[in-house]
Symmetry: C2
Subunit: 363 residues, 2 copies
């Protein structure tokens, strides 16, 4: 995923009305309603599940005393103006993807995935027990909002390509839809990162305007028909090994809620966080099987040499990003410390189990 993925179909028809002053929750017969806009269209597979699960839960858990009305991208403001609207208080809440806001606070990029970084399970553990939540709160507070992790994409694919990538050198001259830190790594490898919305990708691949595209994972990729316009499906997902979605609440709105309402929203987001990841794991598996078995997609693995080359470039790019400001350095150091500690354990536990399983069962 990247920053421009937010610009889904719905975004183009969006109103750009941002009200100048903070809006209190709408009250009606003692009931409060909060307005939340997503940065993607209403029915987006997996991505929209978090906001909807949160809203449904908050309504039920408060017996309807507090409700959240969910809007799709563009229904109130264009997708990428969601944060501006929540900061200003014209929307109470938003639901999106951290790197969309990295133009405002660069360190927020590190709440998103970093190339060769940590998995979704590790990211959740870092947020809950590794200091991640506190660091994220500090960064989002600069935008006048309270942060919650609210979904996770799991490992995203390395992308769809119309040309083969057999070595690091093969990236030279390719035009690839990619953004964020991953896009900078591809640029360092000699490719040209191109930004465009989700909806534009299929045609751009078909027309040859781009040679490859970073998208999400099998569940979303298949829904957008990428297997019909690109021959090769590249893995492993070195660019985005995890992908926390974010829910953000205008700080004044947040502080105006009761402790009870705050707790319902906090835990509702934890529920959304788990629910989205569960859906991605189950539905990605299903879509992957269909892509391979029905659509006969060619799944290609990047070679070890290519991965080593990308790893070297990624290390330089990520380090440079972390040196942009003190906040970036602080969050990068926290992540690297956590990663250094969790990697040997994940390797002996998750990884070696998966290896053992594959010895005994054909996958």
């Amino acid at each position: 995923m990247n920053r421009r993925k937010a610009l889904g179909v719905a975004a183009t028809g969006g109103l750009s009305t941002i009200l100048a002053t903070a809006t209190p929750p709408a009250f009606s017969q003692g009931r409060k309603e909060l307005r939340m806009q997503m940065t993607w269209a209403k029915g987006s597979p997996g991505l929209a599940t978090g906001a909807n699960a949160l809203a449904e839960f908050v309504g039920k858990a408060t017996g309807g005393a507090l409700t959240i009305k969910v809007y799709g991208a563009g229904e109130i403001v264009p997708a990428l103006q969601t944060m501006d609207a929540v900061s200003a208080g014209s929307l109470h809440m938003g639901h999106g993807y951290p790197s969309y806001w990295a133009g405002k606070v660069p360190a927020i990029n590190f709440i998103g995935p970093i190339p060769f970084g940590i998995t979704s399970q590790e990211q959740n553990a870092w947020l809950a027990y590794g200091g991640g939540q506190e660091l994220a709160d500090k960064l989002y507070a600069k935008l006048g909002v309270k942060f919650f992790p609210s979904g996770n994409t799991s490992v995203q694919a390395a992308g769809w390509y119309t040309k083969e990538v057999n070595s690091l050198a093969d990236y030279k001259g390719l035009k690839i839809r990619a953004g964020g830190i991953g896009g900078k790594v591809l640029q360092a490898a000699g490719a040209t990162p191109v930004q465009m919305s989700l909806g534009e990708v299929p045609q751009a691949l078909q027309s040859g305007a781009i040679d490859g595209a970073d998208f999400v994972g099998p569940y979303n990729d298949m829904a957008f028909g990428l297997h019909r316009v690109a021959k090769y499906y590249y893995w492993p997902g070195w660019m985005e090994p995890c992908g926390a979605l974010d829910c953000f609440v205008n700080l004044k709105t947040w502080e105006g809620l009761t402790a009870q309402e705050q707790e319902v929203i906090r835990v509702g987001n934890q529920y959304a966080n788990a629910r989205v990841l569960d859906e991605f794991v189950a539905k990605n598996a299903q879509a992957f099987a269909e892509l391979v078995n029905v659509h006969k997609v060619q799944v290609k693995m990047l070679s070890d040499d290519t991965l080593k080359g990308l790893g070297q470039l990624a290390s330089e790019v990520v380090r440079a990003e972390s040196a942009r400001d003190a906040e970036s350095k602080e969050i990068f150091d926290s992540l690297m410390k956590f990663r250094a500690q969790v990697m040997p354990y994940t390797r002996v536990a998750e990884y070696e189990f998966m290896r053992a399983r594959a010895l005994t069962v054909k996958s």
Copy 2:
């Protein structure tokens, strides 16, 4: 973990008073209180986090109108009588480990980990999107209770051994603390599975009464000092690659709650489920580093030949278990279908990412 792990220190001092009739929630000034006993001691690292997180949330989310009072193993009834007490209604709720109840409903073993089965992330996805919740509800309903997943241990270690296991044949004649399906696989390999409580394990290893012990993972294992009494720490965790904890509510109690209260308990358990897994990942990583770097524990990997042999035996044992009754067959088939679909995806996504990361970063 196994069935007898429930018999922690606290269990031995437990009262065995099971009241004969179902107790309604205690009412006081319009407030309802539910009594929940865990199958482990109150401060058990990670394991006790789920029940406590749930109780804290329910109290806060209802503004104190509904509260859950948490008891440790043995405070009301002995640990392994928790289900009987909840079934009978003398306790409203319990918090434990599915395989503890497999003596009552054998198919419940499949809500627990199965050797070479699925990971915690896959188990969560199966429960939420693969039909697992519905199957579990059906099985727990036979005990008169409503089921919720309420924590997950992540991959558990293969165990602590005082003797080396270099081949499948080396298991012959070993006395190993192990239970459940994993214990039966070890038995098929020629070992003698021995059942004992958590608290008895360190001395049993030290005295030579047992040669090895299946326990939990680094976080719990280190807390119990197993590294001081056994030389070899075996991985990968082929026996228990995941480990859902369960929360169960007396069905009459459940049906007597309002829809609002039910929703708070349902989502509170999802929160507990995520919270426990996050804690295990973060704290296992920390403990593993300490075991290796400070206590100089010898981490041993079972050989591929040993794993293949165990895999063959496990396949036979698991298949035999699944043939016990129609319910076991139904849940086994559901799990196997999900596993067959998720494995190729997990391999290309999670596994290949971890492999790629290891190419570029020393772990």
